[in-house]
């Protein structure tokens, strides 16, 4: 979806402001949103692509206005409701619906370190042939999917070269919609800054973008 989240190359967003001695969370509720997202993720009712997609669906004006963890809260509610863990009426009332069953067991404090160290790799150990080789010229395809995609707009149609092959990973465009993992190679692709932005860029500068094979075509 050509949403406002796809920000690469936009201008006039203002200066980058660094906060000195910034806390990890600015308010206690931010930490609770973060932790709740991680803890409920342990039920494996969704995947990281679906979680990103839910945040991308926040209407653009709200997306720009909301703080980071407000967006996480909004996305989390959509995941919990959309995947059937809670009903929207329950979120609004803050109370379980009468007669609703209790889930067990949730992620425990003792499991937190193990779960963190294990992570949730989206790499897949399956034999999938690589279509492209290191050094090969490629073009990012011109596509405008209305769902989730990780091909940024600023790269579409641009000429690049395969820097390296990262191996086989789950494909976000289908995974976000629970339509299958469609594992395929992901490549680091080097795009010259001038190819992306024109002659004002320095000739030696470049942007490296990690792109799934379905986003690329031979050039």
């Amino acid at each position: 979806m050509n949403g406002v989240h796809d920000m690469g190359g936009m201008q006039d967003m203002g200066p980058v402001r660094e906060e000195k001695n910034e806390p990890v969370f600015h308010h206690p509720w931010e930490g609770r949103v973060f932790a709740t997202y991680i803890a409920t993720g342990a039920w494996r009712k969704w995947n990281i692509d679906a979680a990103r997609y839910m945040r991308e669906l926040i209407p653009p004006a709200d997306y720009l206005r909301m703080s980071y963890y407000e967006k996480w809260y909004a996305g989390l509610v959509e995941l919990l409701v959309g995947r059937g863990l809670v009903a929207r009426a329950e979120v609004e009332s803050g109370k379980p619906a009468p007669g609703s069953s209790k889930a067990t067991p949730p992620l425990t404090a003792e499991q937190v370190p193990t779960a963190r160290h294990r992570g949730a790799s989206t790499s897949r150990d399956v034999a999938v042939a690589a279509r492209f080789k290191t050094g090969q010229a490629v073009r990012a395809r011109v596509i405008n999917p209305v769902g989730h995609t990780r091909l940024p707009r600023y790269a579409r149609g641009k000429l690049g070269a395969i820097h390296l092959d990262h191996g086989v990973f789950v494909f976000p465009d289908t995974n976000a919609l629970f339509q299958g993992e469609k594992p395929q190679h992901v490549y680091s692709v080097r795009f010259a800054a001038r190819e992306l932005w024109g002659d004002a860029a320095k000739p030696q500068d470049a942007v490296y973008i990690d792109l799934w094979e379905d986003y690329l075509e031979p050039a």
Binding site: T40, E70, Y73, A103, A109
Partner: protein, 238 residues
């Protein structure tokens, strides 16, 4: 998933009602203070809404409060840029380690116990006198949690996400880093499940320092690539 923008609008309308109710109960908002950060347009009822959701999920058996406490504590106190600084200090002190770090980052980071969530697949990129690397996630907020912790607000902000790819030199200038014309800037946009860490240049005059003395020189910003490492730490924790 059935969610649509219409659902969000409906939810937002519900939130507006909740916000009005929240005003009547402002004393119950534990966020505690006014919002001095202009990027933080937080409605006063967020603390209440989050508390309400947490209670619901606890009652339904979907989360354990102690696990939430442990997660907050982990990212507030246990995981952060000190980890990345330790990696860099080791790489500066041990050329063989540096080689492993640049060729198989997952394995080399694993030697120091770093890996896992949001750092399952790592790439380390090296700054040299002629190459400067910087990391961004233009589409969301991807960041190498095991070695840097959670990202600062500016990293997740629209200005950084939008401009770092089109005007990296301008962004670096705002951070106080002016690059020479002959330097090659490589911007790494974290669009997939690879997470990046910059190996900054070891500053001159640190030849006699041990690994333990080097690590405190390495700042978070130098590990993202928006700063270089200074010979002596110049105040501040950034």
């Amino acid at each position: 998933m059935e969610s649509t923008r219409r659902d969000f609008l409906a939810a937002a309308a519900g939130a507006a009602g909740a916000a009005a109710a929240g005003d009547l109960n402002a004393h119950a908002d534990d966020s505690g203070h006014t919002h001095e950060h202009e990027h933080q347009a937080v409605p006063s009822d967020m603390a209440l809404r989050v508390k309400s959701l947490e209670s619901l999920l606890v009652e339904k058996g979907l989360v354990d409060r102690a696990a939430l406490d442990a997660l907050v504590d982990t990212y507030e106190n246990k995981v952060g840029p000190r980890n990345g600084a330790q990696v860099v200090a080791r790489a500066w002190a041990d050329p063989a380690y540096k080689q492993r770090l640049l060729t198989d980052a997952d394995k080399a980071l694993g030697e120091l116990g770093f890996g896992g969530q949001q750092g399952e697949h790592m790439v380390v990129v090296e700054n040299t006198p002629t190459v400067h690397n910087m990391i961004v996630c233009t589409l969301c907020s991807c960041y190498p949690w095991p070695v840097l912790g959670l990202p600062p607000v500016w990293y997740k902000s629209a200005p950084y996400r939008s401009r770092s790819v089109i005007d990296p030199r301008g962004v670096l200038r705002e951070f106080g880093l002016e690059l020479a014309d002959n330097v090659e800037v490589r911007v790494w946009d974290s669009t997939a499940e690879l997470r990046y860490l910059v190996l900054p240049e070891r500053p001159a005059g640190t030849e006699g320092l041990s690994e333990a003395e080097l690590a405190p020189l390495v700042t978070r910003d130098s590990l993202i690539g928006v700063a270089n490492v200074q010979p002596r730490r110049q105040g501040g924790a950034a």
